[in-house]
Amino acid sequence: MTIKEIQNEIVEEFSLFEDWKQRYEYIIELGKSIELINPNYKTDSNLIKGCQSKLWLHAELSREKIIYTADSEGIITKGIAAILIRAFSNQAPLDIINSDVKFIDEIGLKEHLSPTRANGLISMIRQLKYYALAFSKNE
């Protein structure tokens, strides 16, 4: 599936929820099922800045696709990281660079992507893209 197709799928899933509580409960569920980062990669250099609950992100290239893994102390942050990873992991670097995150708005999580929000998700997206950029140059 392309990034866009995955994002549309996520938007469709979220459209079933009637209120923010159901949305958040789902995010929390996703946070529990996230593919966790190898503990060896939970280093200070993989820490995303600007996050009240620590958030780590790791990326590696496997068969020309980037595999992202993450972890966070906070379950909501972890849940949103899980959504981002689902949308971007296992994709080609160039496709990641050329994609956007408008779907976050559509699933009612816009406030989490405000630059002034102390959750570091904006920084996480930036970091996802930086990795894609770095891997695309190495190809």
Binding site: W20, I28, Q52, S53, K54, I75, I76, T77, N119
Partner: protein, 405 residues
């Protein structure tokens, strides 16, 4: 004046709004207070009717603005029972005040001198001294705290020596709400001739302080914590110390005479108020103090202590809650964690329920390091909060916990 909570809440326009579809419950008062109509009106009135630059003007409106600005200083003087009005310097707030004093002491201290800072300090209380010590090589010593969030006074006494020149202590801890025994600290520091600066930012909204009785050499507060505007605060300094300190910033107003060879500085307080000051801020600050005195600090204290008692009892019913600094002598602040749930998650869910709280380290990393935690949820009450709001907080916390576990 009798204490009518509904009438008081009516005076705060913001308390009528909704957040995320729920009535707004503001429990982040230790970060900043909400503003009553009287303060908002004083700001609008200034800009609508007598906005003008002060002190130098000969025209009527300038004189009105000057009178209002100086009247604010007078209100502050009366409120804190300060001996001379020129011992009050308008600053942009507590951080600015502390920097002003640290800068003033840069040349008054040397590498043999020590300053003592309490282990409860807010970041802004630590950094200016570190910067000063980089320049004059004086040493910083820390007065440690115990598990109740109280300062260890016996260690404080041991740290005091003839090398100690300055003691910096917060009246009330930002993160935990602990009220420090500053009177005793000031007395002990004075016995060995050290100067004491007290950060009153968290204290002044909760009780009235008589600065002559307290006998601190410096005392500072920010107006926005006590129903006043942001960007304005005061530094009180004893005349003898303010005279010894060099000016902090150069500019207009702080000058008596300038030639290219030499500048003579203006008298206090203008020596430390360079440039056009925050005129409207000072006016709003004075109005806020008048407002709080109209409500009555006895009423405020009484209501806040009822809220604190009720909230502590109610929150303790939540399974696995840990309250930090659960100590009898504190203001209406409760800092806590629930089980293994991250404070940010609780804050995010409470926000969705319309409740504003603070999460994280509260600019007090040393305290968080002491408890070996990455942060807490902090709720802080003001006189305009209600028992019903605490019930709603309790209910919302239970829902948050069930969602997050």
């Amino acid at each position: 004046m009798s204490f009518d909570i509904n009438k008081i809440r009516d005076e705060f326009p913001i308390l009528k709004r909704k957040v995320n579809g729920y009535p707004f419950v503001y429990l982040d008062n230790a970060a900043t207070s909400q503003k009553p109509k009287a303060v908002i009106d004083s700001i609008v009135n200034y800009y609508s009717n007598y906005n003008s630059n002060i002190h130098r003007g000969i025209h009527t409106v300038s004189q009105e603005a000057t009178d209002a600005y100086e009247n604010a200083r007078h209100i502050i003087q009366t409120h804190f029972n300060i001996k001379h009005s020129h011992e009050i310097i308008f600053t942009s707030g507590t951080t600015h005040s502390i920097n002003l004093v640290a800068n003033g002491f840069e040349n008054l201290l040397n590498h043999e001198d020590e300053i003592l800072i309490s282990g409860l300090e807010h970041h802004s209380n630590i950094v200016p001294w570190q910067m000063m010590c980089q320049k004059n090589k004086a040493q910083i010593k820390v007065i440690p705290m115990n598990e109740n969030g109280e300062l260890n006074l016996s260690i404080f006494e041991k740290l005091l020596s003839n090398k100690t020149k300055l003691v910096f202590v917060t009246h009330i801890s930002n993160a935990l709400g602990t009220i420090n025994p500053i009177k005793e600290i000031i007395q002990k520091a004075h016995e060995i001739g050290a100067v004491v600066l007290v950060d009153g930012a968290q204290a002044c909204s909760h009780f009235k302080t008589d600065l002559q009785e307290l006998n601190a050499d410096f005392y500072t507060t920010s107006a926005h914590k006590l129903c006043g505007p942001t960007g304005i605060g005061m530094l009180y300094g004893k005349e003898e110390w303010l005279k010894k300190m060099p000016p902090y910033q150069g500019g207009g107003e702080m000058i008596a005479n300038v030639t290219f060879e030499k500048t003579t500085y203006a008298e206090l307080p203008h020596k430390f108020e360079a440039g056009t000051p925050n005129i409207v801020g000072a006016i709003g600050f004075g109005e806020a103090i008048n407002y709080l005195n109209k409500i009555g600090f006895d009423n405020i204290k009484n209501h806040e202590s009822n809220l604190l008692k009720y909230a502590t009892k109610k929150l303790k019913m939540i399974p696995n809650i840990k309250i930090y600094g659960d100590y009898i002598d504190k203001t209406s602040v409760i800092s806590f964690n629930i089980g293994e749930i991250h404070s940010y998650d609780i804050g995010a869910i409470l926000d969705k329920f319309g409740i504003a709280v603070r999460t994280g380290q509260h600019c007090a990393q040393p305290i968080m390091d002491y408890f070996k935690i990455s942060g807490t949820v902090r709720v802080s009450f003001s006189f305009y909060n209600t028992i019903e709001e605490i019930d709603y907080l309790h209910k919302s916390l239970l829902r948050a916990v069930s969602m997050l576990s």
